[in-house]
């Protein structure tokens, strides 16, 4: 058995972080949104589906902080850990994307669970055909997980100071982007881009970003010490 497969199995020995917790969080958030909708009546278009994507980022952080050190103590290499982890998350995200697409179809079929609550149909994104919902969900789940691993990797490699620089760097990049766009009066163009791009096109952009994060994470983990 290859070391990467051992790592994937290692994550599933007790699949709390990557399997149980994301869906438990989503179920809890669903109920929290459902109760007021039932009491006050719909329609209630909610964006709370974001909770599962946000949790995947959190899972990415914990995977590096908590799971990596023990895996290395058991004789996994950093490369095997990364490849095994990413492969598992990609496989899980395929299934999770299908589940989200299925739940969305069910939501549509039941008129928003009978109370006009649109939990799995957030506005702007995930509004197309089922396969686009699946593809976009899949890409976003992987992307957010990889983004989370970056926080863990930076923390492990450069400690808290590195983490502060990493966060501050992203804020600076965002501010510079806002400054440039504002200076050129280009907000209309940005709005036009996001309102005209197709779901498949946006998913492609996010996939490219995920691929870049994945490649960068692979390079980062090779220098991590525990």
């Amino acid at each position: 058995m290859s070391s990467s497969i051992k790592v994937a199995r290692y994550h599933l020995v007790y699949p709390f972080l990557l399997v149980l917790a994301p869906w438990a969080v989503l179920a809890l958030v669903f109920v929290i949104n459902l109760i007021p909708t039932v009491i006050q009546g719909g329609p209630n278009p909610t964006k709370a589906l974001a909770s599962i994507f946000a949790f995947m980022a959190f899972a990415g952080v914990l995977t590096i902080i908590r799971s990596l050190p023990f895996a290395l103590a058991l004789g996994a290499s950093r490369r095997s850990f990364y490849l095994g982890t990413v492969t598992l998350v990609v496989a899980l995200a395929v299934v999770y994307g299908l589940a989200i697409a299925g739940l969305q179809a069910l939501e549509r079929a039941t008129g928003g669970w009978g109370v006009s609550m649109y939990f799995f149909q957030p506005q702007y994104i995930l509004t197309g055909a089922w396969y686009l919902t699946w593809l976009t969900s899949f890409v976003c789940l992987v992307l957010l997980f990889l983004y989370g691993t970056w926080f863990g990797l930076v923390q492990q490699r450069w400690d808290t100071i590195g983490l502060i620089v990493f966060v501050f760097g992203q804020v600076v990049v965002a501010l510079v982007a806002i400054f440039i766009i504002g200076g050129n009066h280009d907000w209309h163009g940005v709005g036009h881009f996001f309102t005209t791009i197709t779901a498949a096109g946006l998913t492609g952009l996010l996939a490219a970003f995920a691929a870049a994060l994945c490649a960068g994470g692979f390079a980062l983990i090779r220098g991590v010490t525990v």
């Binding site: 199995r9 020995v13 007790y14 972080l17 290395l72 103590a73 058991l74 004789g75 290499s77």
Partner: protein, 298 residues
């Protein structure tokens, strides 16, 4: 024969601090080696580098004939048990199950016996274990892994005397049946001294002593008695330390004693006492410190 562990000129620098300074060390085959030294001597850094958890700044490392860094074939044959091991959200049984899938020589029966010996609750979350219980879990994994190279870094943190006794007994028993390379860093030097076949002492990142444990035990002797008699006895020997109170003196001499030394000591009415490993460490560290000072002031 390819050495199990071979380090050549290994150094590790953290900014302005040199944690390891030109370490040369070869461990050929099965043995239990004690890695001894004061806090900050570099013991943990050295073990982490051998296990590829840390990178050397300079030098060459070979474990089982190859560089262990990112080498799955070598890493699968190394078990590294460390004092501050972090665990995922696992129960005890999950940690053992995970370990069983990584180590090719894993002995599940031994793991079960050890867990019972240490009274480890299999269903308890690792995060809820006491420090001692967590150390016991690490020890169980380190022993049951039966890895060809097993590294224990202060493995008994928080373990009580009974549990430490279980660890020492089990280590010796399993080593006798399945000889392998074991490196054990420890502060409880006299407690582990009976286990050790070889002693490597570190001081400020350098090896200051590397010898068979039996040689070290007989290599230093405390000579005490009337000052004049002690001076007469130690004349011409390498004296590491002298302490004089009024007319009494105690001196530590290096080098073994010969057959004529004991009758002569009796005649002079001086007592001879071999130094324990812990005392050897104290004197060796002090000696290294004095040499550093002399080197700095020269």
């Amino acid at each position: 024969m390819t050495p199990a562990i071979s380090l050549t000129g290994v150094s590790r620098r953290y900014r302005d601090q040199l944690a390891l300074d030109g370490i040369d060390l070869v461990i050929d085959g099965p043995s239990i080696t004690g890695l001894l030294g004061r806090n900050g001597a570099g013991k943990t850094t050295l073990l982490r580098i051998i296990a590829a958890h840390e990178f050397a700044s300079a030098g060459r490392i070979a474990v089982l004939g190859a560089d262990p860094v990112e080498n799955d074939a070598v890493l699968a044959r190394i078990a590294f048990v460390r004092e501050d091991q972090a665990f995922p959200q696992f129960r005890v049984r999950h940690a053992l199950e995970a370990a069983s899938s990584f180590f090719p020589n894993w002995d599940a029966e031994l793991a079960g016996e050890l867990a019972a010996d240490f009274e480890l609750p299999m269903n308890r979350w690792v995060s809820k274990l006491s420090r001692g219980m967590r150390s016991a879990l690490s020890v169980v994994i380190g022993l049951a892994a039966r890895a060809e190279v097993t590294l224990f870094d202060e493995p008994y943190a928080g373990l009580d005397a009974v549990a430490r006794g279980v660890f020492y007994d089990r280590l010796l028993a399993d080593y006798a049946e399945h000889p392998r390379v074991v490196m054990l860093s420890s502060h409880l030097i006299d407690e582990v001294s009976g286990l050790l076949e070889r002693v490597v002492m570190l001081d400020r990142g350098r090896i200051v002593l590397d010898a068979a444990a039996d040689e070290v035990r007989g290599a230093f002797t405390r000579v005490s008695g009337a000052a004049e008699a002690v001076e007469e006895f130690v004349a011409g020997r390498a004296v590491l330390e002298r302490r004089r109170i009024a007319s009494q003196e105690a001196a530590v001499v290096a080098g073994g004693l010969d057959d004529g030394d004991r009758p002569w000591a009796q005649e002079l009415r001086v007592s001879l006492e071999p130094l324990s490993l812990q005392q050897v460490l104290i004197h060796t560290s002090a000696h290294a410190g004095r040499q550093r000072k002399e080197g700095t002031s020269a």
